[in-house]
Assembly symmetry: D4
């Protein structure tokens, strides 16, 4: 048990000196916690976010619920806020029951604290074509809100029913940045890009079957968009799109 404590102390040391990245710090703490060690919450503290310019999130995939919960708690205690993505429902339940005041979205696999963060940045509109794209869209939207942006959600506007998009144009046009998630053929960003002059970030989703090849069809579609000036993220990477939008918003305010 003592060995673990020493190891933890050593890790924290390295972390504070900048010799250890947050990702690695998290990983190692998580490893130790797998063996039931206590995470010494009191010592997590660093000015990383300010320097790096974008928000830190706990990537929940491949970690046990207990591991995510412990790191999440440490963030909450020391920094007053935390965001965990790609969490299982079990993980979310564990965190929510442990820490009061969390927000969570089961379909998107996200939990965050505090539930409500005052928006200090401008508006990003997040568009989703179909219901199945909503988890990825919510990953983007919640990350944005956590990062201080205002978010408008426009979620019921697929290309197959393009008339509905037009009813929402005002909402879309008032955004500083538009994030568009779509699966299957990934055509929605092209349509949106032709209608607004704001930056458009396209997120292909793995929604589909057969020749969608887990999002490849949507990805290629977006890269070949006939609307100029659209940029693309990895498949299902709502978080990445949100960080890209936050980079834009924050740069404006410097």
């Amino acid at each position: 048990m003592k060995a673990k404590k020493e190891e933890i102390a050593r890790l924290i040391d390295s972390f504070e000196k900048g010799q250890l990245s947050r990702v690695d710090f998290e990983g190692r703490i998580a490893d130790i916690s797998a063996d039931e060690a206590e995470i010494p919450h009191a010592i997590i503290d660093l000015g990383r976010e300010e320097r790096a310019g974008f928000i830190e999130a706990i990537f929940g995939a491949g970690k046990t619920s207990e591991q995510v919960q412990k790191i999440f708690s440490a963030f909450v205690e020391k920094k007053g806020r935390a965001l965990a993505t790609r969490c299982t429902i079990e993980t979310i339940k564990m965190i929510v029951s442990e820490i009061s005041g969390c927000g969570h979205d089961n379909r998107a696999g996200i939990v965050w604290y505090p539930e409500r963060i005052e928006p200090v940045l401008e508006t990003v509109t997040v568009v989703a074509g179909g219901t199945s794209d909503v988890p990825v869209a919510e990953e983007a939207a919640i990350t944005l809100e956590f990062g201080g942006a205002r978010v408008e959600r426009v979620f019921d506007v697929g290309v197959a029913g393009i008339h509905r998009l037009f009813g929402r144009l005002e909402l879309i046009r008032k955004a500083q940045v538009v994030i568009v998630t779509a699966g299957m053929e990934g055509a929605l960003p092209s349509v949106v890009g032709g209608l607004v002059s704001a930056p458009v970030i396209a997120v292909p989703t793995s929604v589909g079957y057969g020749a969608s090849f887990q999002g490849l069809a949507a990805l290629l579609g977006m890269l070949n968009s006939c609307s100029a000036g659209i940029t693309v993220t990895n498949i299902d990477n709502g978080f990445g799109a949100a960080v890209a939008a936050l980079r834009i918003l924050k740069r404006r305010n410097q």
Copy 2:
């Protein structure tokens, strides 16, 4: 020279007995003609078209101008009409200068006779997203007209400027079949499919660069269309889409 005549006689024989397909007949005549033999035009005649139910065309790719011209002439003489696709400009020039009364389209690589065929079937609307898709769209449109269909062309309606599509909706909606050609991300058929109830045949084109991978992006996009009931042809296959539409129109009239 005699051997050639005998070979030709033998070929015609086989062809009339149905032992030799038109494609093979053409190929062999073309081979012989490459050695300067005369094609005995007078003997090409068969009831194939009525039986097979769709139009015959000379596939110009991989044949010399002279070969295509000779076969084209034989068709004109015996059947009173002919259609050749994927021709070089040289081929078209040679045929047009040889036979008066031909129609031709240099960009689409098509030449046909007679220039004007009275439409006896209903309307097919051929939609093209961008100027670069027009050659494929024209391959479809001319094939349709040659096969007896009325054709409406709606060629200036890309997804990136979707509002223009709406001005043409009446034109599109009056069609019995809609053929939509598009390159790059191939999104146009999804949009059209959501707006009309007629059958929609999507033709991906090889227009694009980089991650369009010579039409693969458009092909995958169309196969994954979120509008139900859209069917797809091979890349750049305007001819095939037209034959599919003619199958539909002709079946109605039986």
Copy 3:
């Protein structure tokens, strides 16, 4: 509980005003039902089908049995009929035990109501090469019957035993549209396309192993068919092929 009711009321409102697509409406109702809310069946009602020109189906994949059942019931109650595709056996059992008078096919994963719908449209022949392709072929056939078409099933005619196909030619030739499903090398549509003059819609299935790459081999085979005028749908998309056929049949009757 009240919040849910209000949310439901709001959703219905949006749905009736056309601000919300059926797909999204379904998705949201399903989300709420996941939390045990009652779905207010009485209020689902809209003229969508007539406008859009093709049938509506519940896509069962990714929904719980209870969710599908609730939406299915709502359709039955309000519209007098319902179709759900890609259902698990559990879902089918739940619906069948709940609502008397349903038809169902376990292998195809489909359940529909009422069991028998009077055909009002012409005949579509659905061809399947092997036993493994039958679920996809049945997805097409049942969708067609649900949409009002007469259906002939020709299911025991693989390319490896091509003589059997010839015994069925009359059956195939009397169709207004032919749908051909095939896995592995996907050669059947080419053969059928050379024998009939009706429109042929090819559906690649994911049947196979190794270098079939989950249906890619069949898809490429069909796109490159040497029979002119064959069109193709996404892998395993029997529903899409049926809707394409219904588009053809319905357009004829307008």
Copy 4:
């Protein structure tokens, strides 16, 4: 000759009414010009740019030198400026010899007028890893300058000699947007993205051989960047990246 004039008049008409997109307008004028018609320069004029929010460029690929030159001249005459991308050296020579005051870059295949445009927007830094990536980087840089942005070029900083990048950090960090072009393994955007907080747009180039698969390796590398918030364009799409950056800069100034 008269028919052509009428056709041109008709095209202009459609164009001014917004029934014809600029792309299509260009294409049709180019077709006609191929037959030696005069382009009536005096009538090209529209408020498109202001509405669409980004610059219009002539896509030179697939057009003859004469066609590009005529359209370019029309733009210059009516709008006082023009930009043509993907031009051959012959095209550039023809334009430059015809119109005095043009800028041009042979390696990037770009010609523009007037040579110097006063920057009214903030700074975008364009980074290129190797000499071979410079043409794509210049396509981005010149497009940006044409669109009114200030541009800093940082062109000699490959990942294999990462120390050189550090000497330029100040230059990179002062940008509002950073565009990074790279071929081969496409690693440079990840490195840059970890060093700056501004939005980073990554452009994969087709530079490489063997398993670079014409830019696919770089494209995948950038999509999977371990630096959060990087977005990607199509392979070799420097123009698209520039338009994306202009969308960001212009939105700030609204």
Copy 5:
């Protein structure tokens, strides 16, 4: 000049001792001949063919006409026969004008000596679907004849006109081995394999366009054949299929 002679002598030495493969021997002689050296024909002689059990051919691709001609002449002089594949028309012309008594096929790119070889082995039937597949089929057929097999050619039997295949069944069934070449969707081997009990070797050809991906569609189709017991060669590899058939025929006669 002396150095070359010595080098040649050294090569022959190595070749006769079995230290140098024929392929390498050829390559090096060809290199030297590129510098106008004389090939000492008199010394090429080896019992390789008997040992290895299959015929030797000169692979003409990537060699100059003169190089192929010199090696061909050496074979003729010493072994009394020679076969060169993948030759340009120029190469064929040069050889044919140099050596009397050669057979040649311009479309297949093959030249051989002597023109007529007495068949000593049983019959192989070579089937080709379309005219475009004939060059590959002829590469197989001529290689077989050169190797001593009787060959039946059945070249006008595509899947799209399957009835013609049936008229030839007797011809196909009398073969000891059947080689089937086909491009586009590559379906013909499946059909043939279901009709005959002899070994069937399938050769995909690169004939096609768009989603044929240079023969990939045909290759995948054949590997997934639903007829059991079909084996496949590389795309366009008619020579390899012939050698495989000769392995079968020769093994029978041992």
Copy 6:
């Protein structure tokens, strides 16, 4: 229950008249048996095997243990022998416990009856590179023995330890046909093909990880073999390779 009996009677009827293939017959019987119907074993009997020239096997994948067992029993009862491939261990156990005198191989997933079949054909040598390839090799070997061939197994000869192959050369060279299974880089057939003059059939296996892409690397390796005259089957298709070898052996004996 009566309906089922009638259905079964109808199926048998169709089967005996040749209107129903064995595959489909099997499939339908299996479907019915899923509902606990009795399979009327006494009536399965047909001369198919003699006509088709190769053995019939039950493809166990995707069938329940009970279904495979019932069909297997029917074969045993009526034809005196049966072979089932791709069976789970549960299926094998059920059959073995039900029918005495079966042979079985758990790793290869095969069960057959009777355990020992007298060889009447010549020798096929089945070569496997590594232990992991043995299940596929055994699928081939057992199918061959079931079909009447003599089989030599040479299973411990990978390319990485090529010297061991040489100790077995006599064994390999005495075969009339050689089947070579290999995963990973799939190099073994090239080596064997250079050492023997008999026909060589290569079977790529899905053994490997990472860039083996489930057997794609081995498949491509074998198709590009530098040993002439090697033919290839689908990935893991030991059964197909055996049928191809039986086609060769049986043709010899006609």
Copy 7:
């Protein structure tokens, strides 16, 4: 039971005579052990390692815990050391509880004996970009230590935070060989390769999602590295990289 003993005796015999490879020996012993046979540990002994020049490891994937444990024990007993890779946690637990003095790493799936091996070779530095790459990096590191190398681990240095790499340069530069593992875009080896003159072996990992395509992105990135002289192994092949490094170190000492 007796039959098994005899079989085992026969296997050992073959193994000692070099007729049976270790891999096959293992596989067969494992098969027998699956049927509860005793493995006669006392007889495993051979001079293979010295001859082959690199270490032998038990590949745990696809073997039961019991099988791996028995082979491991045999190695320990006879050779005094053993290494098993790709083991499940269950396998590791079983071995560790059975044999005292083992080292093990659960995340890397490795167990070895004895825990500490005295380094006799020079230093290899193993670099890992992110925490997720550590299991592959540890597979390399532990294999190296087992093979007698000194190992330096540099695990917290991703490209996104490149400054941390520079703090470790001394550590990296003192290595005789550097192994760099990285997932996602796989950029780290390029950076390291530009900073050190030692041989750099790059190991792509399957870490990532979406367009990482299970390590393909990282693999392509590394193959296209702009740093000259970097070589690459299969995806996740830490063991292979270690053996490659040991080949270098051992060759030096000969």
Copy 8:
């Protein structure tokens, strides 16, 4: 003209200060030389090679003969040696006629100075399977000799004639590093890797056709080699393999 001189002076300045990489320096000089500027040879001089630890080469692809020649001359003048790869025959001729004492290899596209460099490092054996792989093998061999290594060439040992490899084993085994180039199925490195204990670097070549997919088959084959400890370079990257070998040899001597 003066502007150019100043620009050149500026470039040299940057280059000497290390602000400009050699690659970029070359590129810019080449650009200027395209406009007929004089390259001031006298000033190229830097200690780069000693620092970076591997040789510098001029990459000839994409440069004009004149550009390569000028840079080559500058290297010769200032450093006393030069190496240019991927040169056209024209480039080689120009350099050879300009500078006496060069070595050159037309097939490999390489020219170097001085013709003979005294070997100071140990032996690398370069193995090539077929004649077509020799250019890539020579790229490796000449680079090695230029870098100071002794080189043994073993060029006539394909997998299809594996016995020839064995006659060369002593030659291969005496190497400190073995480089193996192979196209088609890329099997040779596996065989070599099983026979020697030295480090083996595999270079896939683009030799092949059809399903070789320009070297992809060989690349995948080598990555999946069943011989442990083989590492791989990009397709056709003989230069990279040589640099990797030099990294090994030089590290030994430090």
